[in-house]
């Protein structure tokens, strides 16, 4: 019988990360799309870092930052009684850093492609920035929103290096699917590794296919109107 716990952990981690990142990235992406501030390229570069950094580098810094003897780690532990290293909670925090650009960039591109006058019309209608974002901007970038959510989810499921650095491989706690496969290969359990890898492959493909089908349909609907 195959132990499905690593998959369950992977998907729990991805779902939580996607949910949290949505609310963090939404105001950030909106601000980046609207601002003319000089600091914008700096923030953009910072946000994009996880794409180019080796996961081990990112994982190392997150590990150092979250360690119990670091100011941040000590603060969180005293406030919530939660350890952030080699725990599931720590994995969620690390994943939020790791997947940040995958949520921010599609949303930002979506917002930037909107007709500026449409946003201004909402302000002229007396609506606040928050209401404009929620009721005008977001509903008009559905394909970008869909891409952001699904890619963030999929990318978090597929993460390996950062998870290994920050979470280790504690069964039922931090041993996600990608780490489980790595360990199976290490001890040469190729049969099991094949099954796990095939499941990951099929799931990832299904997720991506659904995004592309959704966006394809949206485009066709727009063209037909």
């Amino acid at each position: 019988m195959i132990d499905m716990t690593p998959f369950w952990l992977s998907f729990k981690l991805a779902a939580l990360t996607t949910l949290i990142l949505f609310f963090i990235a939404l105001p950030l992406a909106w601000w980046l799309s609207q601002t003319r501030a000089k600091g914008k390229p700096f923030i953009e570069a910072l946000t994009a870092l996880p794409i180019v950094l080796p996961p081990s580098v990112l994982g190392f810094y997150i590990l150092v930052a979250l360690a119990p003897d670091s100011p941040l780690g000590a603060f969180v532990e005293s406030l919530f009684g939660v350890k952030l290293v080699f725990t599931f909670a720590g994995l969620v925090v690390a994943s939020c850093f790791y997947s940040l650009p995958f949520m921010v960039q599609p949303l930002q591109n979506g917002f930037e492609s909107l007709n500026r006058h449409m946003i201004e019309a909402s302000y002229l209608a007396g609506k606040s920035t928050a209401e404009t974002l929620w009721r005008v901007a977001l509903p008009n970038i559905k394909p970008a929103l869909m891409t952001a959510l699904i890619i963030t989810f999929a990318h978090t499921v597929g993460e390996f290096g950062v998870v290994l650095m920050v979470g280790g491989s504690i069964p039922g706690e931090t041993k996600v699917a990608s780490v489980a496969i790595y360990e199976m290969v290490e001890v040469m359990e190729y049969g099991k590794a094949h099954i796990y890898a095939a499941i990951m492959l099929a799931l990832s493909f299904a997720v991506l296919l659904s995004v592309y089908i959704f966006n394809h349909r949206q485009q066709n609907r727009m063209r037909m109107l």
Binding site: E120, A121, Y123, L124, A125, G126
Partner: protein
């Protein structure tokens, strides 16, 4: 009474230009703003609406909208604004576009009827023609019963017959709602039909004329 004392540096295709405005508008007047492209006609409307910044003062019926280091937020100015490209909310139906501004269904229905688009009220925005879209945009702009209506070439993308028809509608709305209206236009017929006064923008200066200037200048 609207008093404008404004100054702004524009970066146009022919380099830097100073836009300078010293004008008053009487309540209920219909001003048509004319002038060549890139002279700052749209910018002037956008400054009044609060969409762009400029130096100087704007006061409307003794309320200071801009000046003395302060600027009233766009949301609190309550201007009706009609964009050249309609700028409708694509995710909403015709009626929802109006009700988003103000949940006054009675007013929404009245406006839809006045604009002769009540049959389109549940229609998706993307399914409308240009003329229909501009009617929705006009109706939407009036949903807060603004005292001041600003229109940036609202009819320029429509065919001549539709232009004439909608110009009549604009006149009707202007009178019915007792608004002060500033409209940017290139069209002499529209100006003749609608304007009480003409503003010409040239070399960054805004000069006001009576409507008989149209006969003299063209």
């Amino acid at each position: 009474m609207i008093t404008l004392q404004l100054e702004k540096v524009l970066h146009g295709s022919e380099g830097k230009m100073h836009l300078q405005v010293e004008q008053c508008v009487n309540r209920g007047d219909f001003i048509v703003i004319m002038g060549e492209s890139g002279t700052g006609k749209s910018t002037l409307l956008r400054i009044i609406a609060g969409l762009e910044r400029a130096e100087g003062r704007i006061s409307v019926d003794d309320v200071l909208w801009q000046g003395e280091g302060k600027a009233l937020p766009i949301q609190q100015r309550n201007v009706g604004f009609v964009f050249q490209d309609f700028a409708l909310f694509d995710n909403m139906s015709v009626k929802e576009n109006l009700l988003f501004v103000n949940r006054d269904t009675v007013l929404a229905e009245e406006l839809l009827e006045m604009m002769e688009i009540e049959k389109l009220s549940d229609r998706n925005i993307q399914m409308l023609s240009g003329g229909q879209k501009q009617r929705v945009a006009l109706a939407r702009a009036l949903m807060r019963r603004p005292k001041l209506l600003l229109m940036d070439e609202p009819l320029s993308s429509l065919d001549p017959r539709m232009r004439h028809k909608l110009a009549e509608k604009i006149k009707e709305l202007h009178q019915r709602f007792g608004m002060t209206t500033l409209m940017v236009s290139h069209d002499l017929n529209e100006a003749r039909m609608l304007a009480d006064h003409i503003w010409f923008i040239e070399n960054g200066r805004v000069d006001a004329y009576d409507t008989d200037v149209l006969e003299r200048l063209y």
